[in-house]
């Protein structure tokens, strides 16, 4: 091959690559647009002057910020977003504290300690996981009712964190990867199991602690069905964000509150999506149980 031939060949390859790159970007852009259409519609509607559902155009004819003002400062008996936000925040904080403790305790014990009941307990946990959560929640409702706790925020904290110990597998996967040699060295130095847990393992477990806190903090924000079973009263002051927003779309209310629903959707989605995007790598570890490590 002569020098010029090689040059044309190289230029051709480069052209081909550039074309492929452009093609890929175009395909991805089309797909992304398709995927984001509902989200764009959500945001567009939150700025609409039209409050009802009878929308004839994708983008609103007139744009306004009134919905955002009304959402926070103009509450009524149907839409009381600040109160819902406050309720959900309280529930989320408390259930995050309790759940994180429970999950860390169970996963640590199951991962790093050996005792007779370990395997039976783990198998039992798997069996419990095969029952639909809704089923037990129906009975939990009766238990809470006899305790006079339904429609109380404490009830929500209890249901979100009480049996959180069952979700120990992700954290266990993390503890499994911490070398045993650390414990043994500490044991030789005379540390008790408690000291090893507190002073050796916990300080190096920050990633999994952060993950567990975030996951349990998010649960009350995104859960719909459990809150629906436990909160049976019609008093909107006791609602969580999810229940309140579901209620806004009631057949009789949707024509007045649809734009407000979209506004609330935007407001509540921003922090949640930010958290989610930030912790996506932890999240993946969680779902695949560390199998990405290969």
């Amino acid at each position: 091959m002569s020098v010029t031939n090689i040059k044309t060949y190289r230029r051709n390859v480069k052209m081909k690559t550039t074309l492929k790159v452009i093609a890929q970007q175009v395909i991805l852009a089309i797909l992304a647009l398709f995927w984001l259409i509902p989200i764009i519609w959500l945001i567009a509607n939150s700025f609409s002057t039209q409050t009802g559902i009878n929308i004839r155009q994708f983008f609103p004819e007139q744009w306004t910020l009134d919905n955002y003002y009304n959402l926070f400062f103009n509450t009524d008996t149907v839409a009381n977003f600040p109160k819902w936000f406050e309720n959900t925040l309280i529930v989320a904080i408390f259930s995050a504290i309790v759940s994180t403790m429970f999950v860390l305790m169970v996963s640590y014990a199951m991962s790093r300690m050996r005792f007779k009941m370990r395997k039976p307990l783990m198998n039992f946990g798997i069996i419990l996981g095969l029952f639909p959560g809704v089923l037990s929640m129906i009975a939990v409702y009766f238990i809470l009712k006899f305790m006079g706790l339904t429609d109380h925020l404490a009830a929500l904290v209890i249901i979100y964190s009480g049996s959180s110990g069952l979700g120990y597998l992700v954290a266990k996967g993390f503890f499994d990867t911490v070398p045993k040699a650390l414990d043994e060295a500490a044991k030789i130095d005379g540390a008790s199991e408690f000291m090893i847990f507190l002073k050796i393992i916990m300080p190096i477990s920050k990633p999994i602690i952060v993950y567990t806190v975030l996951v349990s903090f998010l649960a009350p924000w995104v859960d719909f069905v459990f809150a629906r079973i436990i909160l049976t009263s019609n008093d909107t002051n006791g609602f969580t964000v999810a229940i309140g927003m579901y209620n806004m779309l009631d057949r009789n209310l949707i024509n007045t509150y649809f734009a407000l629903f979209c506004t609330a959707g935007v407001v509540v989605s921003i922090p949640i999506s930010l958290l989610f995007v930030l912790m996506q790598s932890y999240y993946v570890e969680g779902v695949t149980g560390g199998s990405t490590k290969g």
Binding site: L135, A139, Y283, S291
Partner: protein
């Protein structure tokens, strides 16, 4: 296929092994009780007395705090049994006989409520009592063993540990007990007891016609199971609805799992291809769709595709609706596309909308695994002259299937119970199938949403419980099958050698 066959062929041997295990479990309990008996006979007066007063032996060995705590426990137990346990357990056989009544009282000159039985309370408190009695019996009998050991230690001149030393053990060699007790207690109260309760309800007639406190309910044996499995016997068509709902649940779970799985992997490949620039941006754009809470995005999508919704309006303006009507995809009596109202349309739409959520989700999860596929596998394939499709089919997919098999199983079961997608999108649709409607079900209902509707809208707890048990059985079968089929190595031992 062979493996699946051998799985079923193995069931009898497995059952036998299971029975043997249960058998040996009872033998062990028997031995344990015999050991306690021996300890009781050979023990001194304090050991014998601790059969009746639990803490007494500890006082003899000068473990006063422990003795006091055990005493307190025993009194607490006796108080509980007298106050709650006995009255409820006595009525467990009938679940109550005295119905709620308002009686005119001449003294007070007003209606007063009689001393009625509350079936639900009787069942629940009996269950709690049984759990507490079993736990207490365990502690009580073990205590005799402990007392006998203490007597022996004292005779041998060993030092009896002080209370503080014993507490310290719970932070050292018995630390797992400290760690596990609270979480396990939470699980027992909020998962185990409720589940047993619901299983028991499946054998009663607890429904809207037997709803305490106004009415009693009682045991009906296997009647509810017969209702769900036997066709034709009654006007309420649970059996028909059950068959319809189960088959849709399985079809749904299959498509929801595998379409999103393959689509998600393709999306991940596209984003991570060497021709893609700004990978992080593309990934984030897709992830945003799943980062928005489902109750927001799904409720929005429901209105997006509503009968008078924006999509229908736009498609009508563009003439797509007319074209669909002319070609018979939409019934000519309609002027809109029945996205979430027609049976077939809504089922297809549900699966498609689930893809909308599922692709980014699977993309997110599988990206890491895809990056980990050894590069030399691809290189050798290319040298052998494999084209892109062959590489995907013969290298990428088998590798992915192997690594993400556990995820696929959990995802299949998760989709079977995918409450959010189905309920938030189609909870307000009305079925045209009267037989389904008679059983309070709808064409797009999964078992889990049917169960939810039965309890929340119709107070039909008896049938909901039976359905819950069925969901458990189906999940268990799939889990067993899949674990048998795919998982060979125990992961934890790979890390902890």
């Amino acid at each position: 296929m062979n493996k699946i066959k051998s799985f079923f062929l193995n069931i009898p041997t497995k059952c036998k092994a299971g029975l043997n295990k249960t058998g040996s479990f009872f033998v062990r309990i028997g031995k344990e009780i015999a050991g306690v008996g021996k300890d009781f006979v050979s023990g001194d007066i304090f050991v014998k007395a601790s059969l009746f007063v639990m803490g007494i032996g500890f006082f003899r060995r000068k473990q006063f705090v422990k003795g006091f705590l055990f005493l307190l426990l025993q009194f607490g137990f006796i108080y509980f049994i007298l106050k709650v346990g006995a009255p409820n357990l006595a009525k467990l056989g009938t679940l109550g006989t005295v119905e709620y009544q308002q009686i005119w009282s001449d003294e007070l000159r007003m209606n007063i409520t009689n001393d009625y039985d509350h079936s639900l309370k009787i069942l629940l408190f009996s269950l709690i009592s049984i759990v507490i009695i079993l736990a207490y019996a365990f502690v009580h009998f073990r205590n005799i063993k402990v007392q006998r050991q203490l007597q022996q230690d004292e005779k041998d001149g060993k030092t009896i540990p002080s209370f503080i030393t014993e507490v310290k053990i719970f932070f050292d060699s018995k630390f797992h007990v400290t760690l596990l007790s609270l979480p396990v207690l939470g699980i027992i109260i909020l998962t185990v007891i409720p589940l047993i309760f619901m299983i028991l309800v499946a054998f009663t007639n607890f429904d809207q016609y037997h709803y305490p406190p106004l009415k009693l309910f009682t045991w009906v044996g296997l009647n509810n199971f017969k209702l769900l499995f036997q066709t034709g016997s009654s006007s309420v068509t649970y059996a028909y609805a059950f068959r319809r709902v189960v088959s849709w649940t399985l079809i749904w779970a299959f498509f929801a799992t595998f379409l999103t799985y393959i689509g998600g992997i393709l999306l991940a490949l596209l984003i991570n291809s060497k021709y893609t620039r700004w990978k992080k941006m593309w990934r984030t754009l897709f992830v945003i769709t799943i980062a928005v809470p489902q109750f927001v995005s799904l409720l929005l999508v429901r209105n997006f595709f509503a009968t008078q919704g924006i999509v229908n309006t736009l498609l009508a303006n563009w003439g797509v609706t007319d074209w669909l009507i002319q070609n018979g995809f939409v019934s000519s009596s309609l002027s809109y596309i029945p996205f979430l109202t027609d049976e077939v349309w809504s089922k297809v739409m549900l699966i498609l909308i689930n893809c909308w959520i599922g692709f980014p989700y699977v993309m997110l999860i599988t990206t890491g695994v895809l990056m980990n596929i050894p590069k030399d596998l691809y290189d050798s394939a290319r040298i052998d002259g494999a084209n892109k499709f062959q590489v995907f089919r013969k290298i990428t997919m088998p590798y992915m299937l192997f690594v993400t098999a556990p995820y696929l199983i959990t995802s299949f079961i998760g989709n079977m119970n995918n409450f959010n997608v189905i309920y938030l999108l189609t909870s307000n649709r009305i079925t045209s199938d009267q037989l389904l409607a008679n059983a309070n079900a709808s064409d797009t209902d999964l078992l889990i949403t049917w169960l939810f509707k039965l309890t929340q809208d119709y107070y039909n707890y008896k049938m909901a419980s039976v359905i819950g048990i069925v969901i458990f059985v189906i999940s268990a079968i799939f889990t067993l099958l899949a674990f048998n089929y795919t998982i060979k190595s125990d992961k934890e031992s790979r890390f902890q050698l």
